[in-house]
Amino acid sequence: MAHAAQVGLQDATSPIMEELITFHDHALMIIFLICFLVLYALFLTLTTKLTNTNISDAQEMETVWTILPAIILVLIALPSLRILYMTDEVNDPSLTIKSIGHQWYWTYEYTDYGGLIFNSYMLPPLFLEPGDLRLLDVDNRVVLPIEAPIRMMITSQDVLHSWAVPTLGLKTDAIPGRLNQTTFTATRPGVYYGQCSEICGANHSFMPIVLELIPLKIFEMGPVFTL
């Protein structure tokens, strides 16, 4: 879960998120060097007498400032594309869950478990107990096993929504009439939070996503639902 004043990414709970954090660090280092160069150029501009008005062309400089950004873009684009294709891979999932967005709650279908279907509503502040998280906790959590590839099928029944869990590196649009899929393998047990990430109406902020990730052994003994 993110802290109140958190700026950076959350800790990774899936291999994809680890890759995304690695790429984020890589991009930040390149951004740092660009900022450093721009600050130096600004400093020079401010401390130099701008009296040389005879420059009509500077071929070398123009070549450098055309080729350099092209190289920088390639250095960012290649690792980015690698991760993009990694996120699209579907490797024989052990479990498929369908998630349907509504105004303003999520419905989950465990199609592999006899068609178990339930709704997941945000807990209103009056129903919160000590330790519950305001605007984040739900009445029915999605219980899933760790260390197993899971496929999420995501759609919507009314308007655009987006099913997102930052710590797993997941964000998939829920689009009416279209079934999107995403896969993930969680590496750590715990309770993880996400929120709808596409403006979907008045209560957009009040349809959180809560995943309870438990070891496969416990999951196989019977899904633990807080119904």
Binding site: H3, G8, P15, E18, T22, D25, H26, L28, M29, I31, F32, L33, C35, F36, L37, Y40
Partner: protein
């Protein structure tokens, strides 16, 4: 600042360059910046010793910093990525070993069986 409450994660020590690059917690960042600084001093001072041009030596120093930092960063990150892949493969193999040891799916048993035939 108020002490952290029980259950609240401890604040991690961090040094952020230009307010965003976390040098303490980003693998390879510290090495790259330090080597870049050294490269900057060597390139800038070396250029000054040969040409005695102060302004141009500063430019060379900044260029040296950027190039050496980038070079070190790519080298270190490449090795880091390779190490992470090896770690992941090892983890998977250990998991498989634990899962299949003693069963007919054990790769070692299969191997031994085929070699004895």
């Amino acid at each position: 600042a108020a002490p952290p409450e029980p259950g609240e994660p401890e604040e991690r020590k961090s040094l952020k360059l230009l307010g965003f690059l976390d040098v303490e917690n980003t693998p390879c960042a510290r090495h790259s910046i330090l080597y870049g600084s050294l490269g900057s001093v060597v390139a800038g001072f070396g250029h000054f010793l040969f040409t005695s041009r102060i302004r141009r030596s500063c430019d060379v120093g900044v260029g040296g910093f950027i190039l050496v930092t980038l070079g070190c960063w790519f080298h270190c990150r490449y090795n880091y990525a390779k190490q992470r892949i090896q770690e992941r493969i090892a983890r998977e193999e250990i998991k498989k070993k634990i899962l299949y040891e003693g069963t007919h799916l054990d790769p070692e048993r299969k191997h031994n069986g085929s070699s004895s035939n």
